[in-house]
Amino acid sequence: MTALVFRAGPLLCALRLDEVLETMRPMPTLPLAGTPAFVLGISVLRGVPAPVLDVCRLLGGGPGELRRYITVGTERGAVAMASGEVIGIRPVHPEPAGGHPALLGGASSRLVAGVDTVGAEPLLLLQSMRAVPDEVWEAAAAAGVP
């Protein structure tokens, strides 16, 4: 399976390549009230508003350097994921939840589809479709953005 590998703070993450639409530099983002801390806000990408998620906060809880937006297609539109440096496209071979789903926690178990290794670092394969809670879309609809 081919995936787009990138950094999110200290973590090394990957997204399935068939879910990725585009990579780009960070775009102007409007913060949204009442959203979780990992939601940076909403930005207009290719003429379409899309919520922006901070992958570092989403996975690690702390702030990280934001160098790229990675847009991912979902059933309800594109979602931008703010990340660090994009490493490249790699073939990955994840194991489902690392074989220990209970150890990765409740919510996290819904974000990480599998774990691989690149050298000595773990590579977290994200499930982007499941990573966006509904509240985000509700907040985006409340902001009046079409």
Partner: protein, 489 residues
């Protein structure tokens, strides 16, 4: 009134007063003599003219009677003419008598005489007329005219009264003259007494002032002579001391003269050294100018280095801009390559080949970005080195400026030293000249000191002579006090 005047003025005033009184006495005497002389002249005039003329009337009357009788006897016309001429002579005498009279009573008597003579002449005319008619002398006795004798006696009586009156007037005038002479003599005696009293007063006053003032002055002279004698003695002693001191001063001045000559020689040597120092300073001045030129050249080179380093910094910045552009292009290429790979992943076999190309492009972009990053780091290093160099160069430039200023200060100090050396040289020359002049002056002072020593000895001798003279003057003052009679006052 005479207080405060000098004795000479008093003496002159006294003699002046005496002279004035003498002149007054002389004038008064002259006036008195003139007055007495006028009175006597009046008496003489009255006596010699009026009285004589009046007495002449009596004589003329007698001569007229005699001629009248002669005519009566002779009856000749000659005697008749004589008788007529006698009357004219008598009338003319009456006129002369009238001219000499200045007494009213006498003039009145003279008028009486005139009247009596007219009556008498009338009677005489009658007699003469009868006599002319008579031829014989015996008939003459028959001529009778009444009142002839009383008229003649009345005429004679009036003439006698006139003469008596004139004699009385003469006597009165003589008495008046004697009285006036007596009064003049009394006045002269009075004025003479006043003159004698005034002269005695002046003499007494002058004598008193002479005793008091001249005596006091002579007393002062005597005391001053004593003081002068004491002062002369002291001066003689001082003269001896002064002569001794002048001898010591002469010795000291001789030593000072030797010292002045030594100072003059030293000043001359110092002047020579100062001139050598000034020459060396002028040589050092040229070296200073060369050093200043070198410092200015260093300063210009440092400024050029700073300019070059600043230009290098600007070039590095421009390179950094280009590198930033390259980095930007590499990053953009990286993004495009990744997106191309993403797009190619869904395009089957051709997509995979394109993905391989895109991956290679991404790798090239990554390498380009890495190289740009390294170049950026190198440029930063170069800029840091340039800044450090510029700062070091500026510090060096400041050090050069500070050194230049310090060199300027040193140069100014050196030039100041040169000026001071020149001033010192001038001052040394002045000292040399002054010392020579001082030597000459000291020689003159030495000569003057010798003269002064000689003068001191002469002063001593003169003081001794003065002492003797003062003693003699004191003795003379005592004698003079005895003369003016104020000894012991």
């Amino acid at each position: 009134m005479m207080a405060g005047r000098t004795f000479g003025a008093k003496l002159a005033a006294g003699f002046g007063l005496t002279l004035a009184l003498t002149l007054l006495m002389t004038a008064t005497s002259a006036l008195a003599l003139h007055y007495v002389s006028a009175t006597n002249e009046k008496v003489v005039k009255t006596a010699s003219s009026s009285l004589v003329e009046a007495q002449t009337l009596s004589g003329l009357m007698d001569r007229r009677l005699a001629d009248f009788r002669a005519y009566l006897i002779s009856g000749t016309p000659e005697w008749l003419n004589t008788v007529n001429q006698d009357r004219g002579t008598f009338l003319a005498q009456l006129a002369r008598v009238r001219d000499t009279l200045d007494d009213a009573a006498a003039e009145k008597l003279l008028n009486t005489v005139t009247t009596a003579e007219g009556q008498f002449n009338t009677l005489i005319g009658q007699v003469l007329a009868r006599r002319q008619k008579i031829k014989a002398l015996s008939d003459v006795a028959q001529i009778r005219v009444d009142g002839m004798k009383p008229a003649r006696e009345a005429l004679q009586a009036t003439i006698d009264s006139l003469i008596k009156r004139i004699q009385k007037v003469v006597a009165d005038s003589r008495k008046e003259s004697a009285d006036r002479a007596t009064w003049a003599i009394l006045c002269l005696l009075g004025i003479g007494a006043v003159l004698i009293v005034s002269s005695a007063g002046v003499a007494w006053r002058l004598s008193r002032d002479l005793r008091r003032e001249v005596g006091a002055a002579v007393g002062h002279i005597q005391s001053s002579s004593s003081e002068l004698e004491a002062a002369a003695a002291q001066q003689a002693s001082g003269g001896r001391d002064q002569a001794s001191a002048m001898s010591e001063i002469t010795t000291t001045i001789s030593e000072l003269l030797i010292t002045s000559r030594q100072i003059a020689d030293s000043a001359q040597r110092v002047s020579k050294i100062a001139e050598d120092t000034a020459d060396a300073a002028r040589t050092g001045d040229a070296t200073i100018d060369q050093t200043r030129a070198s410092i200015n050249a260093i300063r210009a080179q440092v400024d050029q280095i700073v300019q070059h380093m600043l230009s290098l910094g600007e070039k590095s910045q421009q390179i950094g801009t280009v590198v930033d552009l390259v980095s930007e292009l590499a990053e953009q290429t990286n993004i495009l390559a990744i997106n191309a790979t993403i797009e190619a992943s869904g395009a089957g076999e051709w997509g995979r080949r394109f993905a391989v190309v895109a991956e290679e492009i991404r790798k090239l972009a990554d390498r380009t970005a890495g190289s740009a990053k390294e170049i950026r780091a190198l440029i930063e290093d170069v800029r840091g080195a340039v800044n450090t160099t510029v700062m070091a160069t500026e510090i060096g430039a400041k050090a050069v400026d500070a050194g230049s200023r310090q060199f300027d200060d040193a140069t100014n100090s050196f030039r100041r030293i040169v000026q001071l050396v020149a001033t010192t040289s001038d001052a040394t020359r002045e000292i040399e000249l002054s010392t020579k002049q001082q030597t000459t002056a000291v020689e003159q002072v030495n000569s003057a000191a010798s003269d002064t020593a000689r003068a001191s000895r002469e002063t001593e001798a003169s003081a001794v002579q003065t002492k003797q003279t003062a003693a003699h003057l004191s003795t003379l003052s005592g004698d003079l006090l005895d003369l003016v009679g104020t000894r012991g006052h």
